[in-house]
Symmetry: C2
Subunit: 592 residues, 2 copies
Amino acid sequence: MGELIRKRIDQLRQLMKKKGIDAYYVSGTDPHQSEDVPQHWQARRFITGFTGSLGMVAITAKAAALWTDSRYFLQAPGELEGSGVQLMKLRVEGTPAPDEWLRSQLPHGGIVATDTTCLSISQFRNFKIALKRKRLELKNSGDLLAPIWIDREPIPLSPVFEHELKYAGLNRSEKIDLVRREVGNSGADATLITALDDVAWTFNLRGNDVVCNPVFIAYGLLSDVTACLYINPLKLPAPLSKKLNKEGILVKPYEAIFDDLPHLRGKVLIDPDRTSQALAEALPHGVGIIEQVSVPAMLKAVKSEQELRNIRETMRIDGVAMVEFLYWLDQAIGGQAISDCDIAQQLEVVRSHREGYQGPAFPPIVGYQQTGAVVHRRVTPENAVPVERKGILLIDTGGHYLSGTTDITRTIALSEPTPQQKEDFTIVLKGMINLTTARFPAGTRGCNLDILARKALWDRGLNYGHGTSHGIGYFLNVHEGPMSIRQEYNDHPLRPGMVLSNEPGIYREGQYGVRTENMMVCVGREKTAYGQFYGFETLTLCPIDRRLIERNLFSPGETDWINRYHQWCYHQLAPLLQEGKRSFLKSLTAET
Amino acid sequence: MGELIRKRIDQLRQLMKKKGIDAYYVSGTDPHQSEDVPQHWQARRFITGFTGSLGMVAITAKAAALWTDSRYFLQAPGELEGSGVQLMKLRVEGTPAPDEWLRSQLPHGGIVATDTTCLSISQFRNFKIALKRKRLELKNSGDLLAPIWIDREPIPLSPVFEHELKYAGLNRSEKIDLVRREVGNSGADATLITALDDVAWTFNLRGNDVVCNPVFIAYGLLSDVTACLYINPLKLPAPLSKKLNKEGILVKPYEAIFDDLPHLRGKVLIDPDRTSQALAEALPHGVGIIEQVSVPAMLKAVKSEQELRNIRETMRIDGVAMVEFLYWLDQAIGGQAISDCDIAQQLEVVRSHREGYQGPAFPPIVGYQQTGAVVHRRVTPENAVPVERKGILLIDTGGHYLSGTTDITRTIALSEPTPQQKEDFTIVLKGMINLTTARFPAGTRGCNLDILARKALWDRGLNYGHGTSHGIGYFLNVHEGPMSIRQEYNDHPLRPGMVLSNEPGIYREGQYGVRTENMMVCVGREKTAYGQFYGFETLTLCPIDRRLIERNLFSPGETDWINRYHQWCYHQLAPLLQEGKRSFLKSLTAET
């Protein structure tokens, strides 16, 4: 592999030389700034051999470097071996940022080029400023890899389908009107819709172009009077195409957006974090630009009453699947020989029988003993580990249903847990409960609340290296913005209707991992002289392993919470279960 | 007053017309971006009559507007009456921002002018961008008020004095070397020191140019080899002047900074939030600019071991003064007729007898019953209120000592408190204790911790409208950056050695206010596999009114905390008190 990469880099360098470019920069995203990127746009992997999900690449005439984070510090060196690409460890003291590294490699006035279709306006702007301070120039070179990328995967062509009204809650024209109203309120005449989940939500359409994300490659452009969908027409089944037409949606080829933008007039609202610099460059000089978070992103983050009703029903469906899985596990463990991969498959089996199931919301995470401490380990048949009747099992999975997307983590004791395991589990659970029961005034942001999930850990010198909570799409991406609950600042306050995960954890390297995750929805609480208060309501219906709870670490309020939660789970799920599984659920939800 | 203001505005408009300016903008700060502004620079007051401490002004040929916040919504209309200046309520829905208002008033391409000596680089930059989006231009017009401001106060001329080594801990050349090292680490060759407290700290000098802030009007400019102090030489007593000279400090006239900047070479580090746009404009084109938080601001926020030793001693001194005050209050109340103003004066009296006392750290806040609910009420003989043996008294005062600055709030019951008063007091105290006892990993920011002080309030639908914690200078400004603990994001993590206030409160409009404030220092705690943890140590030594504590609302840990705190107060202060006051302290610190 190393030699192949060297050859590709050499070819790129010849092109760079021909074009007078001193360095080529690869941001590693796609034209829609997706978190999960279709193979067609996996330029980082093509030019370095690195398969991780995050990283930037810079290549000069003499050197090449890849920046990635601690998740990949073990994996990256092997993949980069022999390629001549140097690993740069992000957030490690002494690692130069790309702009610093480029300054050390290039002469004054050196030219850095990039493909602006795969860089957001903000990324391009910030990188340009950083380079300018170092007396380097950032330019658009187009895609320099295209000519040398022989066996490149095409842009995905999977068919698009309709998200029916009974699930979507609002029809297409109602959603488009909602977007138009907000665009108008911002003083704009039109808006570009670039993020794939924003396009899917706005047009009540879904697809299968990105693994585990029910989205499809397309752009949208809405003005006061027109609604355009830019998409490869091969992706639209004829009846759907006809229907869109009848509803006044103009369907144009995917690339045609670059032909239409130069003719825009008035003011256009664009999201600088989700719109490529290439699109910005296609706008005419005279057009007014209002930079703001994408309107569909703001609208879809707040679930409607109908969506919430559907999500609550989906939670019952997914909860039944989870109880069936737990029942299977209880029988299987210690009997037949099973692996973590079998467990992942069984979870898929129990979900796939449920109404409206469309597929996994993300690659399943099954962490057994020490692999549970590897936060983002993905299970494959090749790396499968046998699971016995001992130790701790961490399972983080979720499903896409037509009526909502689920995301749940449970940690299960396969034998009598140790005192430390019980303490860790209980502390994590205290954190989860503490965040769930929060009351907070309107305007509160995620970084203000995050400590509620961590305090019990911090008090004991423990912590976890990931965020506490992400937004969750409605039969859409399992990671959905714009809000989040984590230490890092996020400008978007929490608002009633937002659906979020709640997932603190503890990871004991070489031993085990503990994480408990429920989904919850932000809801309105009392209004007092001191403001409007909000809180959360739990959505997820699935027992939490009582054998791992150390009662002495619980406050009376926490004990009360877990008992009420289990009663609620039993009452919601029991009527949907057969007798044997019902009495199994009864034992799982007994009083703590 | 209204008529006088109208006349001034007319004169300004004539000047604007002559210079082709469509609007004049007054930011309301001084050339050093001070929080408290010397009268010489109180341009907002001069041109509108408004005496509040926050506000921006915009004046066009036909209209004039003042933006200020809710603290002044009652006061401003009276002061603006007859002036023709319109009140714009900040953070009230529907209020246009200055750039929006200006767009509605001016033609396309209209010119907005301002005095760039009184606007920071960031303020100027952001305002320019906002106006540009509205197709308006922002320009530097110099100070247009100067020609019409007849009876303007001169720039203060109070003498500067040395902050002696035994207090400062490091001598001037050591501090200058520290600054130089950090400037070098940033890749810069020189730095401009513009904030008054930064200048004072760097040169171990103090002054009296700003009410309650021991600073003096000056700039500093440090390069690898030179150290310049730009100051009116009349402010330097001859021996000090000589000494500075001997130590190689170049003393130049205050205004000479504008002559020297054009000759700078290499790279200069400037703080865009604390440096005026006028200074930035004086820099030559060829100079490299590194924008970063001021190095002295970062250095002085982390107190040295010696400073911390001195602060702890200062806490004993101030604690004795507070106990003496409480003793006086206990005797005086209900006996002689006293007012809140007498109370403020008595606090000044008890402090002024203590070693090293230099004056109040800020105008004293004495809130009795309903005036306690007015967060920033200042006491004057004119608005004095009689204080009787009933209700609740809130006292927020502090002192500058040569060995440190103090800031303390205590709430005192003057008769048997009501259940609601006790509940409010106890909830606020829970918040203060909860923040005090926090453990948190390195990198934690103020917005992550703020909720610890508010959670007990939020759980009951209560809140307070101010920050929880500000940094405190060392015989310097009582509000000191760069860190803070509040809901709003602040990029600067907490670090060991930082000294902060901790001051949650509850304000019942028309009834009373409750606030308890201790000073604390961030300290290192254990280092675990999950990172380096920090915590806080309390600095303030003064009993907390036990009569207001509702024990049933306390956890065992909280009861334990208050008892250990009171024991510590007694052991630290008792040896410094005479017998009568000592037994008084004993009763105040008895077990809860």
